[in-house]
Symmetry: C2
Subunit: 407 residues, 2 copies
């Protein structure tokens, strides 16, 4: 049994770092707010007597030894960074549930056979720097560390520079270094399936695949008054055309396909200037990699058509491609047994959001527990999971982790 | 005869204040670059022995007395501010041509009957603060000064605060204070009519009317992954719909109607978040006020439809409405006579850009001279007028002004 009050108090405490006026979080990767929550997290790990290590990509680990020091550890965790003006549960609930599990083991003097490690992955959100799940992607070898260090944010600041600025470039190589037995991640669902099915927790069986990228249209900046309509090459009109297509593509591909234009930047962005250069991003997801590839081909075609219709030039850049993932039976069954032990109602589902678990599947047995998102909303201050639902999911995580750690 | 080399040298000198790497200007109203060009301009006025006054809205005047000190003055000028990443001729050529005229009168010891005044109007461009032609609008009484002082830029900085910050809130009331005989403004055309007609200068007979405004769509920020397409209220999809309509409206209204969405801002503007709030601006122009009103009604209707189709809320705000203007015969004929004196080829045309002259028509006889825009482009670093064409237009301005000043 976890300490429900301590879990809530710790969640409330973390939510003060990067808090926004409307009750959300603005804690983008490698910003000052991220540095503060990392400092706080490191203090919590030390206070729990864990040995702390920080790798050269900023991933933070805390380790509790097992009775068999040579056994492959069980790894638990998620991320502490947030979206711009995001919610207070996304990511951090998984880290704090893992911490609460360790604290409870200590309270009860429980020794596990395997070591247990907790991790905070760097830049899971992928908002400031793309791709998402960057820290886990480097750690598992899916991405090259040197390439990722050169990725830049909107203001041209490189990842490597930002990491150095907050003082979280550690001295341990960003790689497993040893065998891991399993990785378990608790996360809020961020969608409406659990609340619609009216269950206590979600047992995640896999994660959708996705493609992310950007199209930049190059038109001609000119005066919005004396320039006749037929003399114009308006980059924003082409971008609007593409945004409409991005909205339409999923409907022609699959029931579960989603597509979003989340980001736009126009230059010079002045009320009386025809926009000369506009960048807009795409994001498509589906449980089937082939559908993701089709969406990618479609967005390239639509960008070409949009550019041709408006007489502008364009270029495209894919910024992320993640394969669809199916979790193996062993850890999923452990999660399901933990649900059953607690007499909780559960739903098996595929995650529509990406998670660090995507990358961990290449390293060890991986599975996830989802907490109910009351209104299905996320990446917004309206994100909400009741303390009851947080506690239930944390309890399932703890029971599943305990089983695996003694396995 | 003006001093062609001095005119060019002065144009080149001013272009160093707020210069951009690609040969343009970034000199937004009431920024540091605006302060620097104002300081420079004030020094030029003083060096030409003009008496300088600055009004409480930042408009800067220089006065050269006439032989009849009680005669109503002739006013010449334009503006020194620029668009973001704009060109080096827009506005400033009119101010420097007026200065060159004064310098030439001094060289030749010419006394005019009427006093001559030069003016730099505050915030003509209307990019940072709306409306455009704000300084002349306040000075002529078209706008209330207190209302205009509270207008804010994109970062929430108020006009009044920005004016104080650069130290250009003067002590003279922002009003004519006396009768004016005439206002003449030289400006680059900023469109393709003169170059297509292959003439030396343009004789402006009027200015189009316009409506500017903004629509803000309020959708629901949510996660771009687990949120099914039919659960979405995407503010950017609604904005894209409206942008497409803004492009289409002119074609159904009139041959000379233009419409532009020049500015867009999306929140939270993250690749994996459904946009929750998007603001997009409109600008429509036509020589006929009724067509401008029709465009305004159409954009309101289209905003409503765009919001309904996407299931989002919205609000609209008109930020500027300027009537179409016809200049009176007396000053236009003076300009035409000056053209004929020089044996230049000219074209009569209506300006598709707004100018401070719009407001001056309510105070005194007003007309304009246009210099050829070689490629028809403006509000862009590609804006280009040859020194020959600058000199020709300046000569026409000087001859017309001399006639009016002795009238
Ligand atoms: N879980 C989560 O929000 N991850 C961020 C990457 C994504 O957009 O799926
Ligand atoms: N001349 C000029 O560019 N004025 C700015 C206002 C407008 O957009 O017409």
């Amino acid at each position: 049994r976890l300490d429900r009050d301590r879990l809530i108090a710790t969640m409330e405490e973390q939510a003060t770092y990067g808090a926004t006026e409307d009750g959300g979080l603005h804690r983008l990767a490698l910003t000052e707010a991220d540095r503060e929550i990392r400092d706080w997290f490191r203090d919590q790990l030390r206070a729990a007597d864990l040995s702390v290590r920080i790798d050269e990509f900023g991933n933070i680990f805390g380790r509790r030894e097992g009775s068999d020091p040579d056994a492959a550890p069980v790894l638990l965790g998620s991320h502490l960074d947030s979206q711009p003006n995001g919610g207070i549960y996304d990511g951090v609930l998984g880290v704090i549930a893992a911490l609460e599990f360790i604290r409870t083991l200590d309270d009860k003097n429980i020794e596990t056979t395997r070591p247990i490690e907790i991790v905070n992955w760097t830049n899971e959100e992928g908002s400031r720097f793309q791709p998402a799940m960057q820290g886990s992607g480097v750690w598992t070898g899916a991405h090259d560390i040197e390439t990722e260090r050169t990725k830049t944010d909107d203001n041209g600041v490189a990842f490597g520079e930002a990491l150095d600025n907050i003082g979280y470039r550690g001295d341990v190589p960003a790689e497993p270094g040893t065998e891991y037995d399993a990785y378990l991640e608790l996360h809020i669902e961020q969608g409406p399936k659990l609340i619609e099915a009216d269950v206590d927790v979600g047992v995640v069986t896999g994660i959708v695949g996705f493609t992310w990228g950007a199209v930049t249209f190059h038109g001609e900046a000119d005066h919005s008054g004396p320039t006749p309509m037929h003399h114009r090459s308006d980059a924003l009109v082409a971008a609007a055309d593409l945004i409409t297509s991005i909205r339409r593509i999923p409907g022609s591909l699959g029931e579960q396909t989603v597509g979003t234009a989340g980001y736009i930047n126009a230059e010079p962005n002045s009320i009386n200037v025809i926009p000369g250069e506009v960048t807009v991003t795409w994001g498509f997801r589906d449980p089937n990699d082939e559908v993701v590839e089709q969406a990618y081909q479609r967005v390239l075609t639509e960008a070409k058509h949009a550019a041709e219709r408006e007489g502008v030039n364009y270029e495209t850049e894919e910024r992320m491609r993640a394969p669809a993932i199916s979790f193996p039976d062993r850890p999923v069954n452990a999660v399901q047994r933990a649900v059953n032990q607690c007499n909780y109602q559960s739903l098996e589902l595929v995650s529509g959001a990406g998670h660090d678990a995507t990358h961990l599947t290449s390293v060890c047995d991986t599975a996830m527990v989802f907490a109910v998102s009351e209104n299905g909303k996320s990446h917004s201050p309206d994100e909400f999971t009741s303390w009851d639902d947080c506690y239930k999911a944390a309890t399932v995580l703890a029971n599943a982790a305990l089983e695996l750690a003694n396995d």
